[in-house]
């Protein structure tokens, strides 16, 4: 199994959606090798074929792209490993959680770290990243990130449903972590690796949860160096 994953100039892996898959692979106890890529390398993974995004895995001569589809593929291909996405309604509610992560966690974090992330990219990736993100957000990276000290409280408040969930146990999924935890973890790990900005207050249960997630699987998340 090969995981194609993005790196920045320091060769640290910052993609939030790849961290979901890394945690899913660790949860299942599946071994894999990582191929580091820059944004500019992505088309060459599958030259002439379908458009890929990161994360992509290669397994048994097949390429699977998109974190949700990858985890479903892993569930189906390795049925003896713990399943992460249930079929039917339960899986749809988990998909809602992914949309909540996308809009609330990723959407909120992007507006506080993307300029810092840009600074840490390989210089070859910077022009593409700036152009694509400034088109997406309809403002400069500098304007997007400006005023974050005044906006971070609203971001913290937006995490309230997750905070209430963590009142029941150490993880969103209860006593043991599950895919909802990995979905949320990806966003905070993206921030940890890309920016020194403090997103969470030290006394927030979400902060304690994130530290707990960093320790999972022999500290797999914590081994990736944080932004200096």
């Amino acid at each position: 199994m090969i995981l194609y994953d993005l790196v920045n100039a320091r060769k640290t892996h910052f993609s939030p959606n790849s961290w979901r898959v890394r945690m899913a692979l660790a949860h299942k106890g599946l071994a894999y090798e990582v191929r580091d890529v820059l944004f500019g390398d992505i088309p060459s993974i599958n030259a002439g074929g379908d458009k890929l995004t990161i994360p992509t895995i290669a397994h048994n001569g097949r390429l699977v792209t998109d974190s949700w589809d990858i985890v479903r593929y892993l569930d189906e291909t390795f049925p003896q490993t713990p399943r992460l996405i249930a079929p039917g309604a339960d899986g749809q509610v988990l998909k809602f959680f992914q949309y909540w992560v996308q809009t609330t966690i990723h959407g909120g974090i992007a507006r506080m770290i993307l300029r810092d992330l840009y600074d840490r990219l390989d210089p070859a990736d910077q022009p593409y990243f700036r152009a694509s993100r400034e088109k997406m957000y309809k403002q400069t990276l500098e304007a997007l990130q400006a005023g974050r000290e005044e906006r971070v409280d609203a971001f913290r408040k937006s995490l309230q449903p997750m905070r209430l969930s963590l009142g029941h146990g150490p993880f969103v999924c209860g006593e043991q972590p599950g895919y909802a935890d990995y979905l949320a973890f990806g966003g905070f790990q993206w921030a940890r690796i890309s920016s020194p900005f403090q997103l969470l207050a030290e006394d927030d249960v979400v902060h304690a949860w994130f530290e707990r997630c960093l320790d999972l699987f022999d500290g797999a998340g914590r081994r990736e160096a944080p932004a200096a």
Copy 2:
């Protein structure tokens, strides 16, 4: 089975958390009788016993209170009916959805309808309702609801993860409705019965979803008269 449920001056049932349970009972095909109560009647349901809230059900000489606990009780007591709350991690993710409904849907709607709801209460309940809610929100009901025309767009935007979920199928739970749908339905039904204010744009997929929910179980939700 008896369901104790709140009524307003027109004897319509407006409790969002009761609507969750009503839909769960209908989903399971379980028959029940309703006992209408005012806020002021709640202590008399269980005089001298534990504090109850609405909804409460009475079944086989037992009182079960709190919508989540009621639905779990129904799942356990009627194992031949479709289960609504999965055990383990899947149930915890559903609980997160309930917290999202509580903070985003109920929290948002309260700030747009509570003065209208107050106007429709039985006069005997109005002093209690005003005092308790004004203490909770630290402002008058009038101030809480003021400016809703300017705030409704932010509320609609806050529903974005649910809107993305509804891109997959007619219900949050997929092709068929499940408890996540009933959790969200309760909030919008609360608003429909308590206030004439238009919360959702006509062309919103969430609006179409709500209309679909009103039609479930032979129009059980739609039969309850909307606020005039």
